[in-house]
Subunit: 238 residues, 2 copies
């Protein structure tokens, strides 16, 4: 991750926070504004990776050991001179680069001007976040978060490792038999409550069967519903 | 987009900025901290959508017209009571809900506590951003940006892949408000039927709220169920 001449200490801090969130640790800053950079580094709760950031005077130096340099920005003000990819397309490209042992740099320009034409000349690709044309320009910290999300969180699912989608436990659905038992009790309640005329009975039963299956009710919920309707039936019966 | 008790005006501003970036315009705030909310609204360069934000005292009210309510957060402190999806998986799900004419609410808790158990009981799903276990907790403005990126920028490419035809029309889900009305009548039936002891009432109400959302009941079915339970209530009442 490379920030070129970042200005706002809050944005620098937010960049570091997003990097920590998505498991990145190598930050380089190119020609930062001295006072702002120091302020960001000394902020309460500043990420450790800010302390360890590599500082260079030129972008060339910062990305010297990377095999794929990806600039970020909008196309509002210039015609790109290198291939442009939409951010959602970057994941696959980055994944194959990493798979073959490459190192990727993601480069963000200053809040005010973005990356200059000179900066961009060090980039293999320009990645564009698809934003609304009415308000295309993103806050730096948010743009960083979105890009790192694409490269990691999405990256994993590209690779088919949706992995730690924690507690993916889904309880089993009720069996058809359990649903039919529930349907029978509900039908009993409908009758006891004079829900509809007798000649509707067959139609109602049919609809109820469909309805309960549409709900894709799980086993435990079916049991709960059964308990409630039995109780109701008992109450109406008396 | 719903913010519950947001605190930091900068985060509120960042949320609005990300919404503008990704083309969203409907913001609701639930029980905001008065001074901070006013500060955010009056900030220089504040997005217009902050002026037009809907303000409510409860989350139930804020999401009453939505058919799919998605809470956000981590699983660090609690066990989820509803299905959990990893954010990358949410895009497709949200896309199909929109395709059948539903309205989605994305709900973010306060910076300090996130969403409470009570808040979450109004959510059909909990979406988790896959972050590094070492630093799982994201800044609010950045989390919002990442979620909206997934829903729009990525969403487009999902839609491009799945090529939906108008033929697979699925009726929209019941709105959160319709579900709450149904829940109220069912609760009435439970009471009238002496389903469980009085001291269980709050817990039952909580469970019922979750259960009805788990069912993903559609509008027409919710109406049918409402009719039945009203009828039952009437019958038991007499």
């Amino acid at each position: 991750m490379v920030l070129v001449s970042p200005r706002n200490p809050l944005n620098i801090g937010a960049t570091a926070r997003a990097m920590a969130n998505f498991g990145f640790s190598h930050l380089s800053v190119v020609a930062p504004y001295e006072a702002h950079w120091r302020e960001a580094q000394s902020a309460i709760g500043a990420e450790e990776l800010l302390q360890n950031a590599k500082r260079t005077e030129s972008l060339a130096e910062a990305v010297a050991d990377c095999t794929l340099v990806v600039g970020t920005g909008t196309l509002a003000r210039r015609k790109a001179e290198q291939p442009v990819v939409s951010l959602p397309e970057l994941g696959g490209r980055a994944g194959s680069e990493l798979a073959r042992g490459g190192r990727i740099a993601l480069v963000f320009g200053s809040e005010k001007r973005g990356l200059t034409r000179e900066d961009l000349s060090y980039c293999h690709l320009l990645a564009v976040i698809p934003t609304d044309p009415q308000q295309p320009s993103m806050n730096l910290g948010q743009a960083v978060a979105v890009c790192l999300y694409e490269l990691t969180a999405r990256g994993e699912s590209h690779a088919g490792l949706s992995g730690k989608s924690a507690a993916d436990f889904v309880p089993p659905l009720a069996t058809s038999g359990e649903i039919d038992r529930l349907a029978a009790v509900i039908e009993g309640v409908m009758l006891a409550a004079s829900y509809s005329p007798a000649e509707m009975r067959a139609a109602n039963r049919h609809d109820l069967r469909l309805l309960l299956r549409r709900l894709e009710i799980n086993e435990a919920d079916a049991r709960r519903a059964l308990g409630l309707f039995r109780r109701v039936l008992h109450k109406i019966g008396n």
